[in-house]
Structures are given as structure tokens and as C-alpha cells.
């Protein structure tokens, strides 16, 4: 997946994006961000696994799944400036590439076209993931109906 996320970017463009990023390492159980935090950065998971947790209205934390190598974290907040929808906790040692909103604001000034292309890649990624989730949901629902 990590190769195809950026398939619309040229090598040179991808290099330019990577230049904006900073490698950040998280140790097991370390929090990457918390649900409700204002989204000021996007992370690309280079290595390791991350648990995604969501608090429900009863206050208990539900496991939303595991993010793996090649996946984004915090991507929606970077696009719409909304709060983080869940918490991300490193479940093992993780190497991430962090791209801050500040850096992307600079990119907006110097290379609008690249910023748009980068954002479009993220939207496609989210849309793809959501379609998968919907398919899985539809499949498990029809399995349930058979029971």
C-alpha cells in the first residue's frame, strides 16, 4: 500500500514531501496523539504497530484496530483541521515520519500544486480504507443474518 499511496507523485515530488518530514521514534505504550487533540501533524508509519483507541460516551476505551507499516495516522485532522477522532498508542517500537501542519503551510506558499497532489493522495487513501471497512461491515452483517 505504501507504494501506491503516492503513485501520482513523481520521485522528485515525493522527495520534496519527505524533505518536510522528520523521523520520530515512539517506544512501546507511548502515546502518539490523543483523541480530541488538535491535529497539528500527520504521521506515516514506517515500522511498528499502533493501536487505535476510541472512548465511547460511557468513558470506556474501545479498540478500533491496529495501524501497520505504510499507513497514515492523523490524516483527517490535517485535511479538515478537526480534532483527532481517536487515540494512537504505539504497541511496539515505532518509526514514523512526521509532517507538521506548519511545514505544509509553507509548502502551500511555495508549491500549491504539490500540496494539492499530496492531499488528494491522502483523500484517496482514506476513501479506499473506508470502502474496505464498509465491505467488511456488509460481509459480516450478511454473515450475521445467516445465523
Amino acid at each position: 500500500m505504501s507504494d501506491s499511496i503516492f503513485s501520482d507523485l513523481t520521485d522528485k515530488e515525493l522527495e520534496e514531501i519527505l524533505k518536510l518530514s522528520e523521523e520520530i521514534i515512539f517506544e512501546p505504550n507511548q502515546t502518539i496523539f490523543k483523541q480530541g487533540d488538535s491535529g497539528d501533524a500527520l504521521y506515516i508509519l514506517k515500522q511498528g504497530k499502533v493501536s487505535l483507541l476510541k472512548k465511547n460516551n460511557m468513558g470506556s476505551e474501545l479498540n478500533m484496530g491496529i495501524a501497520e507499516r505504510g499507513m497514515f495516522l492523523g490524516e483527517l485532522s490535517i485535511l479538515d483541521s478537526g480534532p483527532q477522532a481517536f487515540s494512537a498508542i504505539a504497541s511496539e517500537r515505532c518509526i514514523t515520519l512526521k509532517i507538521t501542519k506548519q511545514k505544509l503551510d509553507i509548502l502551500k506558499k511555495i508549491n500549491k500544486k504539490l500540496l494539492c497532489k499530496f492531499f488528494i493522495s491522502i483523500i484517496r487513501y482514506v476513501n479506499y480504507r473506508l470502502r474496505k471497512a464498509n465491505e467488511n461491515f456488509a460481509a459480516s452483517r450478511s454473515n450475521m443474518q445467516k445465523l
Partner: protein, 161 residues
């Protein structure tokens, strides 16, 4: 709708709140206008699209085929709604059908992807603003959809446990 009416209509929409009057005028110049009526289909689920729409008058039905092949009404969207925008960003098939109800009529602004590409050559700033506005709009929608998907998945999991 005459052009000054269209302008006033768009001016009130939240979607265009970051657009200056001059930018909105220029945006209007790349829109076409179309009227759909009496059960006409705007696009079919599964087809590949290259345009998105803004309803300026009337309403549009969003329908989805169920596993048994019946078309079910998912939602009715009213004037001021933006729809079909994912096709501008992603070449995936339309996720639902959009149509006008029987004995009903809807006026739409149609924005073709190719017009946006032309706009990016003549006015990159405006084209960027429009793309970033669409991205923000889509992102807010995806956020809602993913919340619902997670919620549904969890409810299902709790039954399976």
C-alpha cells in the same frame, strides 16, 4: 436562474465562505447549468464520473442498490447541497445513484473536472482554493462516515462476542 441570482445563491453557502466575490464570479464562469426532471437519473451507481454538482433549486434523491438488487432511497438532499465531488478527486466508481423524483425538478450547477484543469492553468490560486475546499468538505464527510462505520463494526463485534 440568471447569473446574479446564482451568485447570490452561492454567496450564502458555507462551502464558499473563503471565496472572495471576484473568485466566486470566476468560479461561476466555469459552471454549466442543467435541469433534471421526472425521475431522470443524474448518475448511476458504479459509473465513473468526471463532474460534480451543486443543487440551486429543488432536491435530489440518493439511491443505493441493496444486495437483492432493489434500489433503496438513502437520502434526499436539498438546494445548497454539493454532491458527486469524490469523482473529481478519485477515479473510483460512483458509490450511489443520484436521481430526481417523479414529478419533481431540480436545477443544478455542473462543474466538470476538465474545467477545473483549465482553471488551474489560467488561475492556479483559485483552482487550488477550490481543490482545498473540496478536500476539506470530503474530509469532513469521510470523518462522519468512518465514525459510523466504526460504530457499526463495534456494535456487530459486541454481538459476536
Amino acid at each position: 436562474m440568471i447569473s446574479s441570482e446564482k451568485f447570490e445563491f452561492l454567496r450564502k453557502l458555507d462551502f464558499f465562505k473563503d471565496f472572495k466575490d471576484s473568485e466566486l464570479q470566476k468560479f461561476l464562469s466555469v459552471c454549466a447549468e442543467r435541469i433534471f426532471e421526472n425521475g431522470e437519473i443524474i448518475f448511476e451507481e458504479g459509473s465513473i464520473g468526471d463532474e460534480f454538482y451543486i443543487i440551486t433549486k429543488g432536491s435530489v434523491e440518493i439511491l443505493k442498490e441493496s444486495s437483492t438488487g432493489e434500489r433503496q432511497l438513502l437520502a434526499v438532499i436539498e438546494d445548497g447541497s454539493v454532491f458527486g465531488e469524490m469523482s473529481i478527486i478519485d477515479q473510483t466508481p460512483r458509490s450511489a445513484t443520484a436521481a430526481v423524483g417523479e414529478d419533481a425538478q431540480a436545477e443544478l450547477l455542473v462543474i466538470k473536472k476538465v474545467f477545473l484543469e483549465e482553471l488551474s492553468l489560467s488561475d492556479l490560486d483559485l483552482a487550488t482554493k477550490l481543490i482545498l475546499t473540496l478536500i476539506k468538505y470530503i474530509s469532513e464527510r469521510l470523518r462522519l462516515t468512518s465514525e459510523r462505520a466504526y460504530f457499526a463494526q463495534n456494535t456487530l463485534n459486541s454481538f459476536n462476542d
